[in-house]
Amino acid sequence: MVKLLLENAQKEGIRFLKTYRENGGYQSLEKALKMAPDNITEEVKVSGLRGRGGAGFPTGLKWSFLAKPENTPRYLVCNADESEPGTFKDRFLMEFIPHLLIEGMIISSYALGSNRSYIYIRGEYAWIVDILRQAIEEAKQNGYLGKNILGSGFDCEIFVHPGAGAYICGEETALLESLEGKRGNPRIKPPFPAVKGLWNCPTVVNNVETIAAVVPIIKMSGAEYAKIGVGRSTGTKLISACGNINKPGVYEIDMTISVEDFIYSDEFCGGIANGKKLKACIPGGSSVPILPANLLLKTAKGETRYMNYESLSDGGFATGSMMGSGGFIVLDEDQCVVKHTYTLAHFYRHESCGQCSPCREGTGWMERILKNIETGKGKMSDIDLLWDIQSKIEGNTICPLGDAAAWPVAAAIRHFRDEFEWHVLNPEESQKRNYGLANYASPLALVS
């Protein structure tokens, strides 16, 4: 399995510049500074790199959309506000190899013409803020940051800005508002950040992993990078696996591996813990639709499902899900989908910014109904009501948080409706044990 980002992650002292450089660090930067900025963008475009934050938008395309008016500064902002439940890949990357991010930041800043770049990191990662600041200090002392980097005439400063603990600040425009010192409310788009972003200047906001991936792209050239992976899912992707598996952790995959292999092979998750069976899985972080085992391992057409953007979303939301941010949450046969959905609904109710009405009111409403069903006070009509509420939130909000709150509920009802009904019909028993026992366990015939 190819490893581009985490190759040296376990090396002793890789956190420090000396060891990082001994292992080939900052060579890409030296190479990049000899290239023209537009050629770097072109290289990223050729590589087919897609945003690793969740939406999967092609990075090179995003960079080329950046408006470049005269006499206006441009900014690169790194979105390290990784708050999605189940996703912790960026934390691993920043904690163990901070210089990879710093190097990627400098290269990207050079390509975009940003002289002041920001890393907006979630406040809960307080110790990582120190790690990154230390790495920036080291880079500065060695001439990789500051004025006239390596004699190229390019100046760049990187600032680390810790957030204050709001999930919504991971949405790019809310992040920019927060970075400007305002309340972290998402902005109404258009205008997009590429035209009017930070302090009304053109801005590119990229995920930590996306920026880090620029380093191997420059090192091995975009065309080589594009050869890894399959189809439009090029390169490697970090997956943070958690839940009922034997080996939770951050894994780097090259997107050609099947979901079944990923869960059961000893190299990765190592199978379901305690010899249980697989019931369901959220393949891309809490906001993407949950999939039952039968649809997770095989698509609706009966083909093997692979860990890449296209295959995971095969079948749309009816029978598929999304790659998302790579937060792979596995549920075994003992887990209750109703309780699980309630937990997520609680999270989204708590994290809604309260700006637009469908999300502000709808998330709280869904949580209350789910709480009723979960605690045995639900009615059959509540399930249809939930479905109706989520359909009225989805797509009608300012930012994707409304969608993120609606999708898990929709998918849970779509695939596990009988479990909701069982909770309503057996209110007392549902308080003692969970439904679902092996009902969705693999391997199960596909329900048509």
Binding site: G354, C356, S357, P358, W365, I389
Partner: protein
């Protein structure tokens, strides 16, 4: 047609508007039912809009150059038109369904205390729920409740009724020198507040009451004094050194119950002759409560669909100019009781009968 104008079609009605116009503004130019309702958008306040989602419309054709439809419903108040854009508002079932959902969302935490609310009768949310809401609510939980707060000596904030349109925040931001209040907390617990119960003191802060689409911000000099539909609105002005002094007085008899800004047909403050919004100062609003303080210009035109118009038959006249030509005779329907009766005896002049006419007067005519 000038080349500078964009052609936009809203519900099959085409109109030419200058570039930079939003869909909502274009629809307001057309007027009538095709205008989406707006709870948070206020054209006189910069950056307002986009939050309440009641003005969602479907864009079925992006523009002449790029005819693809937009994938999601868009907030018409913040989306600018493109040349050749085709918009569906009341002709789009998707948009109407979404709007119904938004009304339901807005109402789940809104107390239905209209009978004791000072805003009743001129409330945007009442109009919206009447136009687009369901007859009942499916929300079976406790509503969110807040304590009432006094924002200074004249304004009371009743957060329970607030729909978080942010209009008052924009007023405080844009009309006053420094920001005095904003939003605390987030999600459904978000509330309008001053930072630790400070009072709002600024000459123009009273305007937050007028921009509030619901009864969350009320005038303490008017609270519970009268229902708006019992008071008679008249336009008046006075010489004020702080503001333009163009106001609307709400009278009952000779007593001035309330002073507000003058509103246009969209419920927004009118412009002064100089073209600036005619916001009024606190002195005009709260302290000039005598009729002698004002020069009254005349009765305000109130839309006859408004409950405030009940009892004020402004502009009503008998259409006797054309009906006789159509039906060939004077219509009986509009018979004036003081005219000569044609029904019973043409010869009987009712105006000569003392008191109410009875059947005796017709059967035993005294003056036949």
């Amino acid at each position: 047609m000038s080349e500078d104008l964009f052609k936009v079609t809203i519900d099959n009605i085409t109109i030419d508007v200058p570039p930079g116009t939003t869909i909502l503004q274009a629809a307001r130019k057309i007027g009538g039912d095709v205008t989406p309702p707006a709870m948070c958008y206020y054209s006189k306040l910069k950056d307002s809009g986009g939050k309440c989602r009641t003005c969602l419309v479907e864009v079925s054709k992006g523009s002449e150059k790029d005819p693809r439809p937009m994938p999601k419903l868009v907030a018409s108040c913040r989306t600018t038109v493109m040349d050749g854009m085709e918009v569906k508002n009341i002709t789009s079932p998707k948009a109407m369904e979404a709007r119904k959902g938004v009304v339901e969302f807005l109402l789940i935490n809104h107390p239905l205390d209209c009978p004791i609310c000072d805003q009743a009768g001129e409330c945007d949310l009442q109009d919206l729920s009447y136009g687009h809401g369901n007859e009942g609510s499916r929300f079976e939980f406790q509503k969110r409740v807040f304590e009432k707060h006094d924002l200074g000596p004249y304004i009371q904030l009743h957060m329970t009724r607030c729909i978080l349109c942010y209009r008052c925040v924009f007023v405080a931001d844009q009309l006053t020198e420094k920001r005095q209040h904003g939003i605390l907390d987030r999600g459904e617990r978000a509330e309008i507040a001053t930072y630790i119960s400070k009072s709002l003191e600024h000459d123009f802060i009273g305007n937050v009451i007028d921009v509030c689409p619901v009864g969350a911000l009320t005038d303490k000099t008017f609270r519970f004094k009268n229902r708006v539909w019992f008071t008679k609105p008249v336009d008046a002005h006075r010489d004020c050194d702080k503001c333009a002094g163009l106001v609307r007085l709400w009278l009952r008899g000779d007593e001035v119950f309330r002073v507000t800004v003058r509103r246009d047909e969209w419920g927004e403050v009118i412009n002064t002759p100089e073209g600036k919004p005619a916001w009024i100062c606190n002195e005009c609003r709260f302290e000039k409560k005598k009729e002698s303080d004002w020069i009254i210009e005349g009765p305000t035109h109130i839309n006859r669909h408004s409950v405030i118009a009940q009892g004020h038959y402004e502009g009503l006249k008998m259409p006797n100019e054309f009906l006789p030509e159509v039906i060939g005779k004077k219509p009986r329907l509009f018979l004036n009781i003081h005219d000569v009766s044609e029904v019973n005896r043409p010869g009987i002049d009712l105006s000569l009968i003392e008191g109410p006419a009875t059947s005796d007067d017709f059967e035993n005519p005294k003056n036949d």
